[in-house]
């Protein structure tokens, strides 16, 4: 039972990354390779606010989210908006550039020192199905549920949200109907930034330390989840996150192979290859 509970918790955080990847992919047909790294860099803002300015974790969290949104907006304005007609491969390379920049800044400013961030809630926890789930894990589950529900409601029930979805389906038609293309693009990249920051904030207590590339596993899980979900289905991204989280936890618990360290990474590759071979449109995606 324990792997399933832990898998659901990790998987729901993967789902946030997968939602960000899927949202950007739907809106601009681009794979955002910086989806987890933006939040990794801005987590240092949380560290600075909580450890140097002695503010609460929550203030620090808001600082990180705000910084990530700002990075998303600047990147959209300076890079993405110039590349509306560029081949999608080139735009994907641009996001690789963003990823590299995040890593490079982390290495230049923060390499060599160990940064530790106290968890948002220091004690408390409730057992579920005989598995102890601590307060931070409950917090993660709650935040993911609220964020996903809020995003879904926003996209489904507001005019702007509907314009975002319509624009993802058919950008030209949506533009002709008056959907503001520039604002929609800015919205998707800002949201991707916020989702990145939130996901990293939530998974940090289980990793326990800030370091350049410490959350590569988060991106790997999120990317695999997005692919399992079909790359263009938001509910699919969510289901994909849970599937990947549980699969990874089961592998960690039962499939420890002494001679192959980090076998769960290999498991992710196997999942990706199976999906591509058997169901390339993903679990909830439709064949186009």
């Amino acid at each position: 039972m324990q792997p399933i509970v832990l898998g659901v918790i990790a998987g729901s955080i993967y789902a946030l990354i997968a939602l960000g990847i899927t949202l950007v992919y739907k809106a601009s047909r681009v794979l955002n390779f910086a989806q987890a790294e933006v939040g990794t860099l801005t987590l240092y803002a949380t560290w600075w606010v909580t450890q140097r300015q002695h503010q609460s974790w929550w203030v620090g969290a808001i600082a990180s989210i705000a910084a990530a949104i700002a990075i998303g907006l600047v990147f959209e304005r300076l890079v993405i908006r110039r590349m509306l007609t560029a081949p999608r491969v080139t735009v994907a390379v641009a996001t690789i550039g963003l990823f590299s920049l995040m890593i490079a800044v982390e290495l230049a400013l923060f390499a060599g020192t160990i940064y530790i961030l106290p968890p948002p809630i220091s004690h408390g926890g409730v057992s579920i199905a005989g598995v102890y789930v601590n307060a931070n894990q409950w917090l993660a589950l709650g935040v993911v549920a609220v964020v996903a529900a809020a995003l879904a409601a926003f996209l489904r029930y507001t005019d702007f949200g509907l314009a975002v979805l319509a624009s993802a389906d058919d950008p030209v038609a949506a533009q002709l109907m008056g959907a503001p293309r520039g604002r929609i693009s800015a919205f998707t990249w800002a949201t991707a930034g916020a989702l990145s920051a939130i996901a990293v904030l939530l998974i940090e207590p289980t990793v326990g330390v800030l370091a350049p590339g410490a959350f590569n596993g988060l991106f790997l899980g999120g990317l695999t989840a997005a692919l399992v979900g079909g790359l263009s289905s938001l509910p699919g991204a969510f289901v994909g996150g849970l599937v990947v989280g549980i699969a990874e936890a089961e592998v960690k618990a039962h499939l420890v192979i002494q001679s192959i360290p980090s076998f769960q990474v290999t498991a992710m590759l196997i999942i990706v290859l199976l999906v591509l071979l058997l169901r390339p449109q993903g679990l909830l995606g439709s064949r186009s």
């Binding site: 794979l31 110039r82 491969v89 690789i96 990823f99 290859l273 591509l276 071979l277």
Partner: protein, 597 residues
């Protein structure tokens, strides 16, 4: 090519004899590693620059090459030559296995799979003592044979430069044969590539396997330069990213720029230590700047400065050159021509569905040999979808398509093209970044009698065929009167010029059936008028059979022998042009309700 060869032979000789006092052993070592990195850059340039596929796991291929050669030279006591060969074979095989699931599909799946493959190598395989020998690692001795070794880094530099020359030679052959043209067309538009008879999945795989083999060689050379590799060797995700930065910033598709950038990237910071950290930030910023503002990279910017672009004179005077009577080439399978009037193409109850939309609904039509058959209908009637179904770009839900009596609905698009079905595209189906001449060479892809292996080594058959292709292309270009434009990218031509080049390209292979999708789209009115005569030439002078989609109804009525009318995916009328012109149902479909007389 000759200058490059001279350069590569002169350089090691110069370093060998003139400068032995100038460079210390560790400087040679830096150059040795730099050349390995440069070959890795060439390998990624082939994949990303030519074929437009991203690999985020190139470091893993370098690692596989290094360890493969290490196993041969230190565990099996084989010579370094065998080690390098084994490295190349191993990484080529790995690339095939990793690439196959991803490259069957369109999109950026290779990026995802190679990313995960790279992380598996980094976290699982290299850290496992079984494969990498853990932190003790595995030695890569420079064994000549038996117990003879060479240790001088300067000698190794000569060998490295010779290997770089070999890679250069292979890469040049890729570019100047059908392999490179197929890669570049795939990068630009997979549908166009298929319509020219290029098996897209095979060539994408070939690109990744070639790239992987070169990366394996580079990895092995890196290993032999350093002398050993272990689980701390920098075969990680960051190295894969750095390779992408090198290749994109240098200029995608520019071999020499990639080599220089690889060398500079490695050698320069090693001479001036301490720059690496900031170089990485600058590299990341440069990557974003280049892709968003100068997608052609530093090499492209430099090239443009040197050769100012000729001023665009946009005088599309509408005078189309006559479609040339091209020398009909010998097709691989010489099909005897059918008697005029016998059915060449039969479409029998074909339906196509996109999700909930029935785009084509049980269409029945026949194209007799030696005729021009028109297909008209309002926007969204399903004309282009039917074209895509006939040429194989979309899958049919039901129905049969027979070409020369043979059922073809199960064949891929490129297979149908090789049977003799040529088609144009509404948006002009050419590789628009390539020159007119290259497009004529591209159009002859299916005529090549050489294998891709012969092309890589430029064996006699390949160079002979390429010579024939060039002659044929030059003849066609001369007949069009485009000699002065021959090296201009198709993108820079006027709409009418692009269209005429497209049709002439289709004719190079002497296809039995020529399918034209709105040839008058994007043409000046005067040119469109001229088009009618050219279409009749296709039938009367060149002896082709034509299936024509057109919005320009007078043009259709003027040129076609028989016309089908499509509305909302169904055939609503068919007949000779004069019958169609007066058919009330057709008028209704085009103009809404028929105007009562």
């Amino acid at each position: 090519m000759l200058t490059a060869a001279a350069l590569f032979i002169a350089l090691p000789l110069a370093t060998e004899h003139a400068m032995p006092k100038l460079l210390e052993q560790h400087h040679y070592l830096n150059l040795d590693v730099g050349i390995a990195i440069a070959i890795a850059a060439v390998s990624l340039n082939l994949l990303l620059g030519y074929a437009g596929q991203i690999s985020l796991g190139h470091a893993a291929l370098l690692a596989a090459g290094a360890f493969a050669s290490g196993i041969v030279t230190s565990r099996w006591h084989g010579s370094m030559v065998l080690g390098l060969l084994f490295a190349v074979v191993t990484t080529a095989a790995l690339s095939l296995i990793v690439g196959l699931p991803a490259l069957r599909l369109r999109g950026l799946y290779l990026a995802i799979v190679t990313l995960e493959f790279g992380l598996v190598m980094q976290y699982s395989v290299l850290r496992s003592t079984v494969f990498s020998g853990g932190s003790a690692g595995i030695a890569l001795p420079r064994r000549v044979w038996g117990n003879r070794f060479f240790t001088d880094n300067a000698v190794y530099l000569v060998i490295s430069l010779l290997l770089l020359l070999v890679v250069w030679f292979l890469d040049v052959n890729v570019v100047r044969t059908r392999i490179g043209r197929a890669f570049r067309t795939i990068r630009e538009n997979e549908s166009v590539a298929q319509a020219f008879g290029i098996p897209v999945t095979r060539y994408k795989l070939l690109a990744f396997v070639l790239s992987g083999a070169m990366a394996g060689l580079a990895g092995a050379m890196y290993g032999h330069a350093i002398g050993f590799v272990n689980n701390e060797s920098p075969f990680n995700f960051n190295q894969s990213l750095q390779l992408i930065i090198i290749v994109v910033v240098a200029g995608l598709g520019h071999r020499l720029a990639a080599i220089l950038a690889g060398l500079v990237y490695w050698v320069f910071p090693s001479f001036i230590s301490g720059l690496h950290q900031w170089a990485y930030i600058i590299g990341a910023l440069a990557l974003m700047d280049v892709v968003s503002r100068h997608p052609e990279g530093l090499a492209g910017v430099w090239e443009r400065r040197r050769r100012p672009k000729p001023a665009d004179d946009d005088d599309d005077d509408g005078e189309l050159p006559a479609l040339p009577q091209l020398p009909a080439p010998v097709r691989a399978v010489q099909a005897e021509s059918l008697p005029p009037g016998s059915p060449l193409l039969e479409v029998d109850g074909v339906s196509v569905r996109f999700g909930g939309l029935q785009a084509v609904d049980g269409v029945q039509l026949t194209v007799p040999t030696g005729t021009i058959v028109g297909l008209i209908g309002p926007n969204g009637a399903g004309k282009s979808t039917l074209f895509n179904a006939i040429s194989g770009l979309v899958r049919t839900e039901s129905g049969r398509i027979r070409f020369r009596g043979r059922e073809i609905q199960g064949l891929r698009c490129d297979q149908r093209a090789r049977l003799g079905i040529a088609r144009s595209f509404q948006q002009v189906g050419l590789a628009k970044d390539l020159s007119i001449r290259d497009n004529f060479l591209l159009a002859q892809h299916q005529l090549a009698g050489y294998s891709d292996g012969e092309a890589l080594l430029m064996l006699p058959r390949a160079s002979r065929d390429e010579e024939t292709f060039r002659t044929r292309a030059d003849k066609a270009i001369a007949a069009l009167g485009f000699d002065e434009l021959a090296n201009m990218p198709v993108r820079n031509l006027s709409g009418g010029q692009q269209r005429i080049v497209e049709i002439a390209c289709l004719l190079v292979t002497a296809p039995d059936l020529v399918m034209l999708d709105e040839p008058s789209a994007g043409m000046a009115p005067a040119a469109a008028e001229n088009l009618a005569a050219r279409l009749r030439d296709l039938r009367d002078v060149l002896g082709r059979t034509v299936l024509l989609i057109e919005h320009n109804v007078p043009l259709v009525l003027d040129t076609c022998d028989y016309v089908y009318v499509l509305d909302a995916g169904r055939l609503i009328a068919e007949g000779e042009p004069h019958e169609i012109a007066s058919n009330p149902q057709v008028i209704d479909a085009y103009f809404g309700a028929a105007v009562p007389a």
